[in-house]
Symmetry: C2
Subunit: 188 residues, 2 copies
């Protein structure tokens, strides 16, 4: 059976979960598929577009918030959904962050949130700025949280760098509420 683009993508995600983002290489992936490294380039133009496909598949699984919720419920739901999606695979946050920083076209997790904030009453540029703020917070928190888990798994412990310990769920909720309150104060 011939290799398909989807089969490559699936195996890439398995390799990610097994070895982590830093050790996800085209050569290791080719080995897992029992194929030459160059074979992958028939299905993906380069490694970056494979990573973008992984990111898209992770972000695609986050559902749009229930529109019957009030705006702040929708924002919370969006943020928690994104956080869950980023945590669905090893180093998922780091991978998505790297894809976003490379600005792969089409990968824009922010669209749904901008619409929510616009309906809530923010004019378009403010809605975009606020959505970017919430996105940065969620991404930063998730990268931090997963990196911290990594270190604990390695037994490095560490005093924690950019960010303090405490319960990650509480820290996430607190930071998110800061932004929600800030947005609320701009609505009237």
């Amino acid at each position: 059976m011939a290799l398909t683009r989807q089969a490559v993508l699936d195996e890439a995600i398995r390799t990610l979960d097994a070895y982590g983002f830093a050790d996800l290489s085209m050569r290791k992936l080719a080995g897992a598929l029992e194929v030459q490294p160059s074979a992958l380039y028939w299905h993906f133009a380069n490694k970056q577009s494979l990573l973008a496909a992984i990111a898209e598949s992770m972000l695609g699984q986050v559902a749009a918030p229930d529109p019957r919720l009030d705006w702040d419920g929708q924002v919370r739901s969006w943020a928690h959904g994104l956080r869950a999606a980023l945590s669905s695979h090893r180093d998922g946050a780091e991978l998505v962050a790297s894809v976003l920083s490379m600005r792969a076209e089409g990968v824009d997790p922010t669209r749904g949130l901008v619409a929510i904030l616009h309906r809530a009453g923010l004019r378009a540029p403010d809605a975009r700025a606020a959505a970017a703020g919430v996105l940065h917070f969620v991404m930063g928190h998730a990268v931090d949280e997963q990196g911290h888990a990594q270190m604990q798994a390695f037994g490095v412990a560490s005093a924690g760098p950019g960010v303090a310990p405490d319960d990650p769920d509480q820290r996430f909720a607190y930071g998110l509420e800061l932004l929600v309150d800030g947005i609320r104060s701009r609505l009237t």
Copy 2:
């Protein structure tokens, strides 16, 4: 004259500015210093600790906010100072983000801000959570902004992914004010 740790660090920063983060390699750095790659490992244990030293030198240049300002002025000053420091070298935000995500010990830009928020009236866990939120926002914004500049320099233009266009300064100020307002609403 023998190579010093500081000379390696200085040349590394020059190489960063000249070639960018992705092309800052130990071998290229060694070439610029007219030395064998292995010579660098006398002065730095590995590449990661060299990157940590670069990050520390960038973060070290951000001054503590004037304590005569009120708390929100100090928060704004801290955030703008960090943003400026991250922008002081090519791909500075990406480099610092990578060092933070690896949790290099000692590199914690958050300490000064936690103290400010604690003095403002937040109890310690809340001050840490809020400081993490502000840090994530500033880092995310700066990575985004520098990445976008990169793409423009390459002529890739792009519709912009994770984040919309608009004026970066305005977007930064707006997002920061969201957090400041959120923090204010927790003080009384």
